[in-house]
């Protein structure tokens, strides 16, 4: 197992955001976490990343307990994140944004080589390397967010709503990139509102409702499950 989450509880003040969430992510698999807006998907990602601190439960990565570690330590263990809303550095150049992805110790020495790989993967970014990230289009910013994540040499990449706000053609492009990264050996956790596409792409999937896991199984299985079809696919 790459990532094991056990009985995770998260509170914002008195409001419970996650309740006894348990899940497993096998090495080199794509695991989708689907659910409606406000179900706790982003909270889960942010807790695994160390940005939110859980009240109870445990998170293990490759056998090591990482519960409650600071976010920069978790990044340095190889858990990368493409966050909701891209979170690029708007007034810094594309190149500087990528450099920031490689500030963690595990990535620093390989930064130069990785950057040329990222530019190969996203030629648009290479064309715009001197341009401020805030002036890029939504799709380009998403490419930058993915590229910046790759700069950190992650083994596991968590994508939080990567298709949100993108035109359909770009959504296809983003999912194609995710598949490509998976084939290149990355383990992928994918959080999406776009349930149909992500279940098709995923090996395993979990359905999150009101901060609880209510269903889990193979992606294909859930895609054909009547409850999922009714609740999320409108069929």
């Amino acid at each position: 197992m790459s990532l094991v989450v056990e009985r995770l509880d998260l509170y914002y003040g008195d409001a419970q955001a996650l309740s006894e969430v348990s899940l497993e992510v096998g090495a080199r698999r794509i695991v989708a976490i689907v659910g409606a807006n406000g179900a706790g998907k982003s909270s889960l990602i942010r807790t695994i990343a160390g940005i939110e601190k859980p009240r109870s439960g445990s998170i293990r990565f490759k056998g090591q307990d990482i519960t409650g570690l600071e976010s920069y330590r978790i990044c340095d263990l190889g858990i990368g994140q493409v966050a909701e809303g891209r979170q690029v550095f708007p007034s810094m150049s594309v190149q500087e944004n990528l450099e920031m992805g490689a500030m963690i110790p595990r990535a620093r020495a390989k930064a130069r080589a990785t950057m040329s790989r990222v530019y190969e993967l996203f030629p648009r970014l290479a064309e715009r390397r001197g341009q401020a990230a805030g002036t890029l289009s939504g799709g380009e910013q998403q490419m930058l967010a993915i590229g910046r994540c790759l700069m950190g040499q992650p083994e596991l990449i968590m994508f939080d709503e990567p298709s949100l706000g993108l035109a359909p053609a770009l959504v296809q492009e983003v999912f194609r990139t995710i598949r490509l990264l998976h084939e290149a050996g990355h383990t992928v956790v994918l959080v999406e509102q776009n349930v149909a596409v992500s279940l098709k792409l995923a090996d395993d999937a979990y359905v999150l409702e009101n901060g609880r896991i209510v269903m889990s199984g193979r992606g294909e299985e859930l895609l054909h499950d009547d409850r999922v079809r009714q609740a999320y696919l409108g069929l």
Partner: protein, 289 residues
């Protein structure tokens, strides 16, 4: 009055203004990144000024030679202060941060009063009354040296933020805090570094200021306020704005002393502030929120 006199006074104001600018630069950098207003900024400068006075009196060392060790001391002081005291307050509401920093300022003022008493002290270097003459222009040597040193420190800081990886990481924190967490930057450590750098700036400014004015423990609040005015005039969070604001305040103070009366200089400074707030609320080089 002859035009040369105005020119001389204005140039003197430019030189003093660069030192003001360096002082305000520290405040601006801290606010721009950590989003905390250092209400103990002027007090930190008086600490540096007293350090310079003591080292000058006991070791006969020139304050400009002392600049580097005093900057280093203030850096460590600021770093420690951010780590130990301010970081725990970072998510608290602004008024509790305000009270915290005002408390620190009051402790500093009274600490200085306890150790040094209320009397004014100064540093009289042997070139204190030297000056450079260029045609009709007469410039005080201490002001020229202080201004050049201020420019050098500011330039070093600009270069650090532009080219050094750690400097870029600090800019990233200011640009998008959530993004900084996402890529695995150690935000708390970068905040402490930033507070240290801002403190080092004001420490350097103190070493220069001690050549220009006498220091008393009560000088702190005046300069905290002045730094705040300069930063607002130049634009909150803008490094170039802090220097420009410093220049404008320096020149307007100097000319006010000449045209009106020396005691009216604060009046002119605040008039400048009100004018900027009316016409360009984000400050001269500030970005619109």
């Amino acid at each position: 009055m002859p035009i040369e006199l105005y020119l001389n006074v204005a140039l003197g104001g430019v030189l003093t203004g660069l030192v003001y600018g360096l002082m305000a630069l520290g405040l601006s950098v801290i606010f721009g990144v950590v989003r905390v207003v250092n209400f103990a900024h002027g007090e930190m400068m008086t600490l540096a000024m007293y350090a310079a006075v003591m080292l000058f009196v006991y070791f006969k060392l020139d304050p400009l030679l002392l600049m580097l060790p005093i900057m280093a001391t203030l850096f460590l002081f600021g770093y420690a202060m951010q780590t130990a005291v301010i970081n725990p307050f970072i998510t608290r509401p602004e008024h509790s941060q305000f009270i915290l920093l005002v408390a620190i300022a009051i402790i500093m003022i009274n600490g200085l009063l306890m150790f040094f008493g209320p009397n004014a002290r100064n540093v009289l270097v042997d070139y204190a009354y030297d000056s450079y003459q260029i045609g009709p222009i007469l410039l005080d040597k201490v002001r020229v040296i202080a201004a050049l040193a201020a420019l050098a420190v500011a330039a070093a800081l600009f270069a650090f933020f532009r080219y050094a990886p750690t400097g870029k990481a600090i800019r990233a924190c200011a640009d998008n805090n959530r993004g900084a967490l996402v890529v695995g930057l150690n935000v708390k450590r970068l905040y402490a570094l930033t507070f240290g750098l801002g403190s080092a700036c004001v420490g350097a400014a103190g070493c220069m200021m001690v050549l220009l004015v006498d220091v008393t423990p009560m000088l702190g609040p005046t300069y905290t306020l002045l730094a705040f005015v300069i930063v607002i005039v130049g634009g909150l969070g803008s490094m170039g704005g802090a220097l420009l604001g410093g220049l404008l305040v320096g020149v307007s103070e100097a000319l006010a002393g000449l045209v009106l009366t020396p005691s009216a200089k604060s009046m002119v400074t605040f008039a400048l502030l009100i004018l900027v707030l009316l016409l360009r609320p984000q400050g001269l080089l500030g970005r619109k929120a």
